[in-house]
Symmetry: C2
Subunit: 213 residues, 2 copies
DNA sequence: TTGCAATTGTTATAATTTTCACATAATATA
DNA sequence: TATATTATGTGAAAATTATAACAATTGCAA
């Protein structure tokens, strides 16, 4: 299989293009140019074409791209031509918000179960789901074909939960705890780190203040 | 002011180093080397030193870095030697989770007010705060010295809310809606995009599956 | 048909970011 | 005091990523 290494930034943008195309499609737009995509998502047209070129030729010169076709390709490329079963561990504030969020289902993600270790949480209903005891994770992960685990427990527990997920056969982890987790190299892991993003803002605001002195 | 342009990735890592240093400090560790920092957060030692070098010389050759000193510098660099007042707009699932999250305060962020346009939400209590009507945003932003706005409204409303924030004098926006917002160039904006991160995972899982064929 | 306008795919160039290697400085030891 | 050890700061090299430019292709109109 001769797949050129694709920059992570390109994958990120593919996801953005894909969602933009979804919106166009909903609005009945059938054809679009790299220029318009670029404009819609705030990158350069050359970037759009370069990104797409990593995966193939999807457009027609002189014409542009067919929205539905390109959308289908982006979904396939991102692995969204299937449903992904998720498990959320940590049924606190964030875990509950994520569980009830319909945003997930829209793009092929399905929260199959929610776990907590606190006996007061276990058995509680969140949306359609009952909170399961953490001990059930290995068994349910197997049974429900969970490939992606979401960590929304307290910072100090995150590593432990990650370990259990790995042992349970989870292949990828989405971590919300602002902690660098250690996992085997064959496990995919990404963090959603609010603080980092906020601090990027304050850094830049600080820079501006300094520059205007 | 002769400040070299700093890569955004460097700022991101500064935030990670900073939090790692906080943990070291809590654990009573006083000195640390670039090697150990690198190890702790999963980057290369050269990267750590290069990143720090953008901002000055903080270490002692042959010795390493004093944890408390370096922590203080990283906080200052990131603009966290002050309190930042936030306003959250959208008191739904996510907005509520963010409001009650103590994670914020830990690093100098303070949720000063929460807004919603839904009359059923307005007046509700979330933690210490009462949900305010959206119309109050301009006035309260002024009064509470809000410089950062957080958008947690439905996707279709996000742009409108961003516009109001800008008009209200907010200088930076943290957006959770998976939409590319248009704001004036002098406004700092970042997105926290869950889907992108999840799709990075599924892309990589898909790649692996393809490679093992 | 032929020429023109539009827009892609791709090659070349530039910019940015990371890695490497080592000179430099501090500390400890004999 | 000389020597060995440790670990920073940095300039140069390598790798990666983004931008720019343009040849190739398509559709349309004259
Ligand atoms: N709340 C937010 O808006 C927000 C935003 C960004 C990041 N985060 C991060 O997300 C994480 C959770 O935040 P939260 O506000 O939801 O906290 P929370 O305290 O409301 O919820 C944590 C939940 O995890 C459970 N838990 C703890 N250890 C566990 C374990 N070993 N196994 C199973 N369950 C366990 C607790 O019982 C609790 O229900 C934290 O790391 C926080 O920093 C939260
Ligand atoms: N819930 C999650 O875990 C989650 C995770 C990631 C991203 N998001 C994104 O965050 C956003 C909000 O998600 P949610 O689950 O909290 O939705 P939600 O429906 O629970 O909450 C949205 C809230 O915004 C309010 N609102 C809508 N328009 C408004 C306006 N113009 N002014 C003021 N308030 C307004 C609504 O009244 C509602 O209370 C969405 O864009 C979603 O995609 C949510």
């Amino acid at each position: 299989m001769k797949t050129l290494r694709v920059p992570e930034a390109t994958v990120t943008r593919m996801s953005i293009y894909s969602r933009f195309l979804e919106r166009l499609d909903r609005n009945g737009i059938t054809t679009i140019s790299s220029n318009e995509i670029a404009d819609g998502v705030g990158v350069s047209p050359a970037q759009v074409r370069k990104d797409l070129a990593y995966f193939g030729e999807f457009g027609t010169r002189g014409v542009g791209y067919n929205v539905q076709t390109l959308l289908k390709y982006t979904l396939r490329i991102l692995g969204l031509d299937q449903t992904w079963q998720l498990a959320i561990v940590g049924a606190g504030n964030l875990g509950q918000a994520l569980t009830t969020s319909r945003g997930f289902n829209a793009r092929g993600f399905h929260v199959a179960c929610v776990f907590d270790h606190d006996t007061r949480r276990v058995g509680q209903r969140i949306g359609q789901l009952l909170v399961q005891p953490l001990g059930q994770l290995p068994e349910l992960a197997q049974k429900e074909n969970i490939r992606i685990g979401v960590i929304t427990v307290n910072n100090s527990m995150a590593q432990e939960v990650a370990n259990i997920m790995v042992q349970s056969g989870v292949q990828a982890i989405l971590n919300f705890a602002p902690i660098t987790l250690r996992v085997p190299a064959n496990i995919e892991i990404r963090n959603v780190d609010l603080s980092i993003t906020l601090e990027l803002l304050t850094f830049n605001l600080g820079l501006k203040a300094a520059q205007s002195l």
